[in-house]
């Protein structure tokens, strides 16, 4: 911190341009500035070998990464919005999410996803206490907090406090079901349709359903 001393004489002009030449921020490290971990090295070595052996090509692995990056929470929101406007679909989605999603032409991937429906009496919350299991094939990459030790340990231990920190108050008369995604299932919360959304189209409804609502740390609301 010696080159960035906040007790120094200059004003720290965040929000404006820094014109003090003696005021140096340390450079942001580049990806290569930290040593590769054992697993990063193994991954690079194995990738290289698989390409060399012709198991897959460099372009195929690039395309798969590109494809995974196009997957996002909007797909989960689309399922929820359809469930809100179509009771039959809601029942099918809860019973068998893979075939229900296929009705919308959506492939939710090879791992079973269980849809947990919020009701006036029950609120659902999803966590993976062991690692970071998440319905990636449906929703994409999980948020960083989902992978944090703090969320993973506290969601099962004190879910109401965790929810309150996300700004979500769950009344004492509502039961909380925490789903610990420990093995071969993945989870999607089906929130309740917010009040005041009568006459709103399916596409607009889907916009109310955020990633965090699909994990269960918040509730959809009219914005």
């Amino acid at each position: 911190m010696s080159d960035h001393d906040h007790t120094g004489e200059h004003e720290h002009g965040h929000g404006g341009y820094d014109v003090d030449p003696s005021h140096h921020h340390p450079p942001q490290p580049d990806l290569e500035d930290t040593p590769f971990s054992r697993h990063q090295l193994m991954q690079m070595a194995v990738t290289g070998l698989l390409i060399e052996k012709g198991i897959f090509s460099a372009d195929e692995i690039r395309a798969q990464i590109e494809h995974m990056d196009t997957i996002g929470p909007a797909r989960g929101a689309e399922l929820v919005a359809r469930a809100w406007v179509d009771d039959g679909f809601r029942t099918r989605l809860v019973a068998d999410s893979k075939s229900a999603a296929a009705e919308l032409g959506m492939d939710i991937g090879p791992i079973p996803i269980l849809v947990m429906e919020n009701t006036p009496d029950t609120h659902n919350l999803v966590v993976c206490t062991l690692c970071s299991c998440y319905p990636r094939f449906l929703l994409g990459i999980p948020p960083d907090w989902y992978k944090s030790r703090s969320y993973r340990s506290r969601a099962v231990r004190e879910p109401r406090e965790v929810l309150a920190e996300f700004g979500t108050e769950i009344g004492p008369d509502v039961t909380i079901r925490v789903h610990d995604s420990t093995a071969d299932m993945r989870y999607l919360v089906l929130p309740m349709r917010p009040a005041g959304t009568q006459g709103i189209g399916e596409e607009a409804l889907a916009k109310l359903v955020t990633r965090d609502a699909l994990i269960g740390v918040t509730l959809p609301r009219m914005t």
């Binding site: 099962v156 109401r160 039961t175």
Partner: protein, 99 residues
């Protein structure tokens, strides 16, 4: 599918602490709950983790625990639950229920 337990059965998680890749969270070992559903048969992750592609298929359950059973000082509602995916070889009939 042959399963040892059915939905609604009371079960207790073995209080075992084997080394290696185990997908039974510590906080439920030795605790009693109720089978919520049968998820199907999946290859045992304890063997898969070590490269055994022929790992045995095991029945996977979802077991629902009262949060107060898991955490005796739990401060939320007494109806709150935690539901965990557990393999059959980790479960025994709840001794409290045996005749």
């Amino acid at each position: 599918m042959q399963t040892r337990f059915a939905p609604g059965d009371r079960v207790r998680v073995h209080r075992r602490f084997p080394p290696g890749h185990v997908r039974t969270p510590w906080y439920c070992r030795g605790k009693s709950g109720e089978v919520e559903r049968i998820c199907g048969r999946f290859r045992n992750p304890e063997q898969l983790a070590y490269g055994n592609r022929d790992a045995a298929h095991e029945v996977l359950y979802r077991v629902s625990f009262s949060s107060r059973v898991l955490w005796p000082d739990y401060e939320g509602s007494e109806r709150d639950r935690v539901e965990i995916e557990l393999y059959e070889h980790w479960l025994a009939p709840d001794p409290g229920e045996m005749k």
